[in-house]
């Protein structure tokens, strides 16, 4: 079905310790806030917090498989992190299409990531899509 303003998709995920380890190995980011519970406590968190990059990997999954799907190309991502996500939290990423342009082959969407009834992250994305994939305006 062609993409239209108001289209929504939700994706549930849980980040586990093995995924944290895999991301550490991939990124070489060994920041203590992500790897050291004691240090995280000293900074006011309940424990080591999930890498933002892992959350963005889940955003990538949504973009590549749901909206806009396998034919899209990301042009812009903007993200604000609002609260920590902890290992084992059940999170929901919700993405809603806010703008489409069929002549330009562009869609924009806003997204939120929520966990523990808290807003963890918000942001916007822009993707380039074949115009045949976009609903008429």
């Amino acid at each position: 079905m062609p993409i239209a303003v108001g289209d929504v998709v939700e994706h549930r995920f849980v980040v586990e310790a093995d995924q944290m380890a895999a991301f550490q190995a991939l990124s070489n980011d060994y920041s203590r806030i992500h790897t050291d519970d004691e240090y995280a406590h000293s900074r006011g968190f309940k424990g080591a917090i999930v890498y933002g990059g892992i959350m963005m990997a889940h955003l990538s999954y949504v973009l590549g498989s749901k909206i806009p799907g396998s034919l899209g190309t990301s042009g812009r991502w903007q993200v604000d992190y609002r609260a920590p996500l902890y290992v084992g939290d059940s999170a929901v990423l919700r993405l809603e299409v806010t703008y489409v342009s069929k002549p330009m082959g562009v869609i924009q969407a806003k997204f939120t990531i929520r966990a523990r009834e808290a807003l963890v992250a918000t942001g916007t994305v822009q993707s380039f899509v074949p115009e045949t994939e976009i609903a008429g305006e």
Binding site: G75, S101, G105, V106, Q126
Partner: protein, 81 residues
Amino acid sequence: MTIDNAVFAKLTEIARTLFDEYQGPWTPALRSEDVEQWDSLATVQFAVMVEQAFNIRFSTDEIVRLDNLGAIASIVAQKKA
């Protein structure tokens, strides 16, 4: 070409955020080839930002003419008139 100053000021504000590496003068004569960051992809991003800022929609014919600030300002002013 007559330029609406208010439209041009708002356009320039948008362009400054998108082409943040550009250090030269912001004039209606500024063309895409004058700005390293202003490639075809950026033209589309710029057009989207302009559409949203001015609450207008560009046609396919207009999109291909969005390659300099003066032309964009002129098209926007016509649409807002």
